[in-house]
C-alpha cells in the first residue's frame, strides 16, 4: 500500500517503503502545457527538502521541480528526457521524474494528503 503526498509547488511523492517516487501532478502538467524538455539530476545526488531537484520546460514556462523531502536521488526516469510528452500523458505513472531515498519520514507529514491537495488545487484555479 503506497501513500502519496503533495507540495504547494505541485510535486507529488509516492512513498513505497523507504523510497519516494517524485513527479509533477496532473494539475501541474495541465497548467504548464506541452512539456518539451526535462532536466534530471544524476543518481546519487543528495537533495534537501525544497531544493531544486529537476527542471521542466513547456513551450511557455520553465519551472524547477523541488524535492518534496530530503534524501538521496537513487534513480531517475531517463524515458522522459527522450519523450517529455510522457509527463503530460501520464504524470503519475510513466511520467515520473526521480526516486528519492527518504532521509527523514517525518518530513512527509509536513506535506498535503490527497484531500488537502485537491482542496488546494480548487483554490488555485
Amino acid at each position: 500500500m503506497s501513500e502519496t503526498r503533495y507540495t504547494k509547488d505541485h510535486e507529488y511523492i509516492r512513498v513505497e517503503g523507504d523510497v519516494g517516487i517524485v513527479g509533477i501532478t496532473d494539475f501541474a502538467q495541465g497548467q504548464l502545457g506541452d512539456v518539451v524538455f526535462v532536466e534530471l539530476p544524476q543518481a546519487g545526488k543528495v537533495v534537501a527538502k525544497g531544493a531544486e531537484a529537476a527542471v521542466v520546460e513547456s513551450v511557455k514556462a520553465a519551472s524547477e521541480v523541488y524535492a518534496p523531502v530530503s534524501g538521496e536521488v537513487v534513480d531517475v526516469n531517463g524515458a522522459i528526457e527522450g519523450q517529455p510528452g510522457l509527463v503530460n500523458e501520464d504524470p503519475a505513472g510513466k511520467g515520473w521524474f526521480l526516486k528519492i531515498k527518504i532521509k527523514d519520514k517525518a518530513e512527509l507529514s509536513e506535506l498535503m494528503d490527497e484531500a488537502a491537495y485537491q482542496a488546494f488545487v480548487s483554490s488555485c484555479s
Binding site: 509547488d9 502545457g33 506541452d34 511557455k60 517529455p84
Partner: protein
C-alpha cells in the same frame, strides 16, 4: 512557477488550411521564397566585365568550389524586397496596440531632420572640431532630458532600454562599491509586475533578485517593500506607471524606504510617455531611469529601430556616469572619453550613442514644445481610458473599472466558460487586420491583454478598433468558438504549433526540390 497565465501551447484541429494554392500565394499575398531559393549563381543585376587576367595568390588555400552566392536581376531584386516589406506590419500600416511598447507614430519631420547632410554624412571618427553641430545637438537633447526628468546628469550612450537598465544598475553598483558596501549590498528588489528585463539586468550585474509581491489593487505597497528592506538591499527596480497601466501612487514613500535603508531607486522608464510634462521622476526620489527614445520620443521602433536608451541620473549617481560625455568649454564642445582618475563607469559602447535617433528625438521635442509634449501624454492617457470605458461592459478589468494611465489591462475572467482563450482572441484580431495587443503579460494577471493605443490614433481610428474588439468579444460570448480556435484564417501563416517547434525544431535550411511535370501529373 508553472504557466500561471494559462497560455495554450498547441493549435486546435480546426487550425488547418482549407486548401493550398499552387503558387502558395494567397491572392495578392505573395509567398516569397528565400533569396537562396530564388537566386541563381549565374545571374547578377549589374554588368561587370570579367577581369582580363586573374591569378590567385592564395596558393593551396584558394577556394576550389563556388561559394554559391545567389544573384537576381534588378526587377527580381526589386520584387523580392518589396514583397518582403509588404509582410511587415508597422505603425505606418495600422494601429499597433502592443502594451508597454508604445508603438506611436514616427513623424516624417524627424526623418527629414535626420537626413540633413550635417547629421547623416558624418563619421564618429571625424575630428571633433568638424562636428560641433552634432555635439551641440546631443548637448541640447541631453539638456531636455534632464529638464523633463529633473535629474542631474544623463548618460547618452546606451543603445536601448535594457542597455540603459544595465547602465543605471552598473552606476548603482559603482556607487555602492565607492562607499565600501560592495560585499554587503547584494540584493535587488523587483516587483512581480516588472518588465522581464529588470530581474535579468539585476542578475547580469551580479545582484540577487528578491521579488516584491503585488497588491490586490495592482500596485506595489510600501509595507511590502519595507518588509523586504535590509542592509543587504542595493536597490529597487520599479516601473512607473507600472505594467498594469497604473500609476504607483506611493512611489515617494517607497523611495524614502530605499534611501533611509541606504539603497538606490532605479525606475524603468519604458512608460515615461504617460507622464512627460506632468511628473518629473527626479521629484519622486528616483536615482536612475532610462528613457526609451524609441517609445516616448517617437523614434522608429520594432524592426525599424535602432533603439536608444539614455539614462538620467540623480546627484548621488552622477559621478559614476559612463564615458563618453560632452563637456563644454566656452564655445567649444568636446567628448570626454577617458575615465581614468574619475569615478566614471568606463565605456558601454564604442561611440557616443545613436546619433540618428538623437536627431529624431530632439526634432520631436522641439516640434511639440512644452505644451505639445504635455498634451501628447494627456492624449495617450485619454485614448487608453476611452478604450477602457468602451470595453468595460464586455471585458473584465482585474483591478476594477478605475482610471488607467497610457495602457489598459484586461484579464480573461470574462472569457471563462466560452472555450476561447486570450491567445485565440489575439489570433482572431490578426484576421481583422490588427496587430494583437500584448498578451499574457504582466504575469500577475491571468490571460492578460494589455492595450496601449497611444496618442497617435484619431477618434475614428479608435472607434473602429473598439467596434472590432466589441464584435469579437460578443462573438466569443455567444459561443462562436471556431472563429477563434482556428484563427488566424487569413494570415500568410495559420496557427503555429509551438510544441512541435520546440520538440522537433528544424534548424538547418535545405534547398527545395523543383517539381517536375511527372510529379505534378501524379498528384
Amino acid at each position: 512557477m508553472l504557466n500561471n497565465q494559462g497560455r495554450p501551447t498547441t493549435p486546435k484541429d480546426s487550425a488547418v488550411a482549407s486548401h493550398e494554392t499552387f503558387t502558395r500565394n494567397r491572392g495578392l499575398q505573395m509567398e516569397e521564397a528565400l533569396l537562396f531559393e530564388i537566386g541563381r549563381t549565374d545571374v547578377t543585376g549589374v554588368d561587370l566585365d570579367e577581369p582580363a587576367s586573374f591569378v590567385s595568390r592564395l596558393g593551396h588555400l584558394a577556394r576550389e568550389e563556388e561559394i554559391g552566392l545567389p544573384g537576381l536581376s534588378e526587377p527580381e531584386t526589386m520584387r523580392h524586397y518589396v514583397r518582403l516589406s509588404q509582410k511587415n506590419y508597422a505603425i505606418d500600416s495600422g494601429l499597433y496596440p502592443l502594451g508597454s511598447c508604445t508603438m506611436k507614430h514616427n513623424p516624417r519631420l524627424n526623418e527629414s531632420m535626420a537626413r540633413l547632410p550635417g547629421f547623416s554624412d558624418i563619421h564618429p571618427l571625424q575630428p571633433q572640431s568638424t562636428v560641433q553641430g552634432a555635439l551641440t545637438l546631443i548637448e541640447e537633447l541631453a539638456g531636455w532630458l534632464m529638464t523633463l526628468t529633473n535629474m542631474d546628469a544623463v548618460a547618452m550612450s546606451p543603445k536601448a532600454g535594457a542597455h540603459g537598465e544595465y547602465c543605471g544598475m552598473a552606476a548603482i553598483k559603482a556607487a555602492i562599491e565607492a562607499k565600501g558596501e560592495g560585499a554587503l549590498r547584494k540584493v535587488v528588489l523587483v516587483p512581480e509586475s516588472a518588465h522581464g528585463t529588470n530581474p535579468a539586468t539585476a542578475a547580469a550585474i551580479g545582484f540577487e533578485v528578491r521579488s516584491v509581491p503585488a497588491g490586490a489593487d495592482g500596485n506595489v505597497h510600501p509595507d511590502a517593500v519595507r518588509a523586504l528592506m535590509g542592509p543587504e538591499v542595493a536597490a529597487i527596480m520599479l516601473t512607473n506607471p507600472n505594467t498594469c497601466g497604473l500609476f504607483e501612487r506611493q512611489i515617494v514613500e517607497i523611495a524614502q524606504i530605499l534611501h533611509e535603508g541606504g539603497g538606490y531607486f532605479y525606475c524603468d522608464g519604458a512608460n515615461f510617455n504617460a507622464i512627460v510634462g506632468k511628473v518629473r521622476p527626479g521629484d519622486l526620489g528616483i536615482d536612475a531611469m532610462h528613457i526609451n527614445l524609441h517609445k516616448t520620443f517617437s523614434t522608429p521602433h520594432g524592426g525599424g529601430g535602432p533603439g536608444a536608451g539614455p539614462v538620467v541620473l540623480s546627484s548621488r549617481l552622477a559621478p559614476f556616469a559612463p564615458v563618453p560625455f560632452i563637456k563644454r568649454d566656452g564655445d567649444k564642445l568636446a567628448l570626454v572619453e577617458d575615465a581614468i582618475g574619475t569615478q566614471a563607469l568606463g565605456r558601454l559602447t564604442a561611440f557616443h550613442g545613436q546619433m540618428g535617433m538623437f536627431v529624431r528625438a530632439l526634432s520631436y521635442i522641439l516640434s511639440h514644445g512644452s505644451d505639445g509634449l504635455k498634451q501628447a501624454s494627456e492624449d495617450a492617457v485619454l485614448n487608453a481610458n476611452y478604450v477602457r470605458a468602451r470595453l468595460a461592459d464586455l471585458m473584465s478589468l482585474p483591478f476594477g473599472n478605475r482610471p488607467c494611465m497610457h495602457e489598459v489591462l484586461f484579464d480573461d475572467a470574462w472569457l471563462k466558460d466560452t472555450g476561447v482563450t486570450t491567445l485565440d482572441f489575439a489570433k482572431a484580431m490578426i484576421d481583422e487586420g490588427y496587430h494583437p495587443m500584448t498578451m499574457y503579460f504582466p504575469l500577475v494577471v491571468h490571460g492578460a491583454m494589455l492595450i496601449e493605443p497611444t496618442e497617435s490614433e484619431s477618434l475614428a481610428s479608435l472607434e473602429l478598433f473598439i467596434m472590432t474588439l466589441r464584435d469579437l468579444a460578443m462573438s466569443a460570448l455567444r459561443g462562436e468558438k471556431t472563429r477563434f480556435e482556428g484563427a488566424p484564417f487569413y494570415a500568410p501563416r495559420r496557427r503555429l504549433d509551438e510544441t512541435r517547434a520546440a520538440r522537433a525544431p528544424v534548424l538547418r535550411w535545405t534547398p527545395p526540390q523543383p517539381i517536375t511535370d511527372a510529379q505534378q501529373a501524379a498528384e
